[in-house]
Chain length 235, copies 2
């Protein structure tokens, strides 16, 4: 077979920013890199792309391997191509961000590299340009979540409105009036009220809701104003 004989060839990696929410703050999952260079340093979840797979497959494979989870929300973010971003050998990295229900995640017994959740404010230094990737992912998630209901991906199947509000407040590092917030989210028609209450957060208890999946898919692409004054969001 004839090939593009003269062209350069590059190693291709994918790196995933995995977000989770513990009820208090937004967190990301990091691992200690298992090989040189920078072995033992904190890193995003990543790996090399293999010959026969596309990048979506590669990122799913790597996430499955490192978190044990399948089918999470996963979206391509950006491709980072600085020639010296990896000092060992030029490596192109395509970053993805993932949103998971932190409760579904269990430490994989087989993991040698000790993945850990870090809240964004107390993150260790990351290798290479991974810090940049995290910052871009954060901006993207803020941008997108202001207009589309992606943050539900971070919550368990049933959740309360105060939990949801905590999530939005911690993603945008702001506070929202609870009356206006609940009006806003209920107006979308995306939520179905359950009979049961979550009594863990208060004596009175807060009603559980779950997503109306049909409306969720139908409305996903519509612009929803989830955030008051969505200004200064950077794409």
């Amino acid at each position: 077979m004839i090939k593009y004989a003269k062209e350069s060839r590059f190693i291709q990696a994918v790196d995933c920013i995995v977000f989770g929410f513990d009820g208090e703050t937004l967190k990301i999952l990091l691992i200690q890199r298992g090989f040189e260079p920078e072995k033992g340093k904190w890193s995003l979840m990543g790996g090399f792309v293999k010959a026969g797979e596309d990048f979506d497959q590669a990122s799913n494979r790597i996430l499955k391997q490192l978190t044990g989870l399948d089918g999470m929300y996963l979206e391509q973010l950006n491709t980072f191509s600085h020639p010296q971003r990896d000092p060992m050998e030029r490596t192109i990295s395509t970053a993805y961000f993932a949103l998971i229900d932190i409760n579904k995640y269990k430490i994989q017994l087989s993991d040698d590299y000790h993945p850990e959740w870090f809240s964004l404010k107390r993150m260790p230094k990351l290798i290479f340009d991974h810090q940049q990737m995290v910052e871009l992912a954060l901006r993207r998630i803020r941008y997108k979540a202001a207009l589309h209901p992606i943050l539900f991906e971070l919550l368990p199947n049933r959740f309360t409105i105060p939990q949801l509000q905590n999530l939005y407040e911690s993603v945008y590092n702001t506070t929202i009036d609870k009356r206006n917030f609940s009006k806003r989210v209920l107006a979308t028609g995306l939520l179905i009220k359950q009979e049961e209450k979550d009594k863990s957060g208060s004596k009175r208890g807060a009603y559980y809701y779950h997503l109306n999946m049909q409306k969720y898919y139908a409305k996903f692409q519509a612009f929803l104003n989830f955030i008051p004054n969505p200004t200064n969001l950077i794409f």
Copy 2:
């Protein structure tokens, strides 16, 4: 130097969707591919990434080479990685979209491959997955332009409000009430009225405006509602 000896290596291309506006419809610039496979078929402007350059440099280099233009608006769109997207040899392609003032573009005398502008409705079949790239670029440009003033990149330094409205109407394939449109754009404070009029479009003539560049940069990231009912836009 030690390297990642066992990993696969891939050819990396960049492909650029170049948008222009001729006053009537939104157009994209295509070339006839100069080498096998698919030699002579219509293609996006693309090329292979070289060993020492990052992708922004590569796309700028390729656009300079094919259009003669420097410093145009250029934004990374997505990386396409299907293993068989190029039948010759697996090639990863990172797509960029570019917005240029169509008047600044002159056919490069040195071009062997006859770039041509095509309106979106009368586009030829494109090679590989380039059609998909164009569709994604269109969705992205619609999404972004609904919230940020990127479409000014498609206009000459001075332009009239009817021209601007035509541009928005053709990007969104819709019509907008001209009273509401001019209120909307003037309310941004982004436009400075000139004394002179453009008499080419009408007997009465329409005032020229130009961008207040300071406000343009300051407000670029703010959410501006340029489009009524920005619903069904897909990111």
